[in-house]
Amino acid sequence: MSRDEVLIIRNLTMTFGGLKALDNINLEVRKGEIVGLIGPNGAGKTTIFNCITGVYKPVDGDIFLHPPVGKARRLNGMAVHKIARLGVARTFQNIRLFSHMTVLENVMVGRHSRGQSGVIGAILRDRKTKEEEEAIVRQSYAILEKVGLNAMVNELAKNLPYGDQRRLEIARALATDPFLLLLDEPAAGMNPMETMGLANLIRGLRDEGNLTILLIEHDMRLVMNLCDRIYVLDYGEKIAEGTPEEVRTNPQVIRAYLGEECYA
């Protein structure tokens, strides 16, 4: 295992009852890459995300994480919040913002894991707590500026347009100081203009923010433009991997997407 790989998945298997959602998946993500995860609905893409972030405990196989500092960790069975603290952040396929909190507060919650203050600090509001709180507000605002939502910091999250809610989810994930960002269909429901803006944002995060990104997406143009490498899943199995060009021409992928009887 070279130091380059930040996420290594080996023989990952996940079953729900009798249903095999993931079957022997192998996957690597290297530092600074944008990796796409595509496949028809129900192929197991989100299940992989849930295994990485600790929502599910894999039935078999290993998930290793190499944080930039510290030693490699095996993520199987680790608590969700601990994995988040290691530097893995995610967004959700069906937007899961804190809808009755303001835009800024949503991002401030993301800063939670990087803070220290507890109940005593909250009550006494000593200098350290105050400084931490000010820093949280400042950093959160800076993140909102980066994603272009700083004009509506005090708006309730549920009142935001759909595209902005997706951006806010990314902002909230960024607030946890991740080195690996998992985006679950970030462009779903966006119009072409918004999607283009999103692509630029994601590229910017990789280039300037030193982030490694693993994303699930159905918008093929976005995936082909953005990703360095792509993994294709179908029925819980990996059917192809490679550069966008390789994947595009892979007969198995075409069959998975267009059906058996197509002889393209």
């Binding site: 988040a84 939670h112 203050s117 909250a122 946890t176």
Partner: protein
């Protein structure tokens, strides 16, 4: 009302005079009903902002001073009965604020809150009865022991939410009451414990009225402390985590929040308040028995939180006074007291489901530094 059936003589009397009254009455009621509905439709964001502005003006500046002065003067002008009622209302303000942390901020529907109240009350009653512990020793002890009970309840129900949590907490509340009722060797069963010492001030004891006034001021101080603490907690890192858990538990976990820890803390702090209020309650009535800690009490406190507006401090204070004082002063309606109270609640939920004073999220001002 219009027809009277006499079952003995088997005759039917028509009272047409009453018919007119019923018609006029229902006409006016329906007009009012329609008007309220029309108003609810019209209720825009702007309107509610105006409403808030009026209220906030009411609670600021000179008026706050006048209210404070009135609070100080009340006990010297009113009879012991009224002081007693006000003290009870203040206890419920604090209970409401405590439950607000659990239900309002963290979103853990707790139907057994009264159990913590009972723990505090019985702790003081028993320690005072057997060992002569004084009020001021038992007060923090009651909070502490209740907090432990809070943790005890929080640990097994960590994974539950919504309906399931409500059922378990309901069971916990009833269990506590049943234990108090049946463990006669310890708790003296349904007959309860009487002759609990009222609180003293640096060893000085007061008469009945003096004690009442003393407890009243103690509760005023407690309310202020509770308001202060809840406000600080709400606008802090842990308070944000609580609200995030209420909004979406899985997402908040993905944001690195240790939800089990945050929920336990909320449960413990909420329970601690109820425990301390239990001690005050025992000292106020000088008598405790299990009947004081029925499910109705939990429902009462919960209705205060819901009526006031989930998470809103001002709303909870108003609601606590309404819920305690209205039934108390509506006693002349005797039999219809609870009915009127219930109607008020239903009407409230239809026309103002967000509560009397819904809580608005804190906003932040930013100056444009860049560009």
């Amino acid at each position: 009302m219009v027809i009277r059936v006499n079952t003995i003589e088997k005759t039917v009397n028509w009272r047409f005079g009453n018919l007119l009254l019923v018609e006029v009455g229902s006409f006016i009621l329906s007009l009012l009903w329609q008007y309220l509905f029309a108003r609810r439709e019209k209720m825009t964001k702007n309107n509610s902002a105006k409403y808030r502005a009026i209220l906030s003006r009411f609670f600021s500046g000179k008026i706050r001073f006048v209210v404070g002065f009135a609070v100080l003067l009340f006990p010297f002008l009113l009879s012991t009965y009224h002081i007693n009622v006000l003290t009870t209302a203040l206890i419920y303000v604090v209970l409401g604020l405590g439950l607000n942390i659990i239900v309002g901020l963290t979103g853990l529907l707790n139907l057994g809150y009264v159990a913590f109240y009972a723990v505090g009350a019985y702790l003081y009653a028993l320690l005072n009865h057997h060992f002569g512990f004084t009020f001021w020793i038992c007060l923090p002890l009651g909070g502490l022991v209740s907090a432990c009970f809070g943790l005890l309840l929080a640990l097994p129900v960590m994974r539950l939410r919504g309906d399931y949590l409500a059922i378990v907490t309901l069971g916990f509340g009833e269990m506590t009451r049943l234990v108090l009722e049946n463990w006669s060797d310890l708790t003296y069963g349904p007959s309860g414990i009487s002759g609990i010492a009222p609180p003293t001030f640096l060893g000085i004891t007061f008469g009945i009225r003096g004690t009442m006034i003393y407890l009243y001021f103690l509760m005023v101080a407690f309310c202020l402390l509770a308001i202060f603490l809840v406000r600080r907690l709400r606008d802090s890192r842990i308070g944000r985590a609580w609200v995030a858990i209420r909004e979406d538990e899985e997402a908040s976990r993905a944001m690195g929040i240790n939800t089990s820890k945050a929920k336990s803390i909320a449960m413990m702090i909420g329970a601690a308040w109820a425990g301390m209020m239990g001690v005050v309650f025992a000292a106020k009535t000088t008598f405790v028995n299990p009947a004081s800690f029925s499910f109705l009490e939990s429902a009462m406190v919960l209705s205060i939180v819901v009526l006031g507006g989930i998470g809103s401090i001002g709303g909870i204070i108003i609601a606590a006074f309404a819920v305690i004082l209205l039934p108390e002063y509506l006693r002349f309606l005797s039999d219809y007291r609870m009915l009127a109270f219930g109607c008020a609640m239903v009407v409230m939920m239809i026309f103002r489901p967000q509560g009397i004073l819904p809580y608005h999220r804190r906003t932040y001002e930013f100056k444009e530094v860049h560009r």
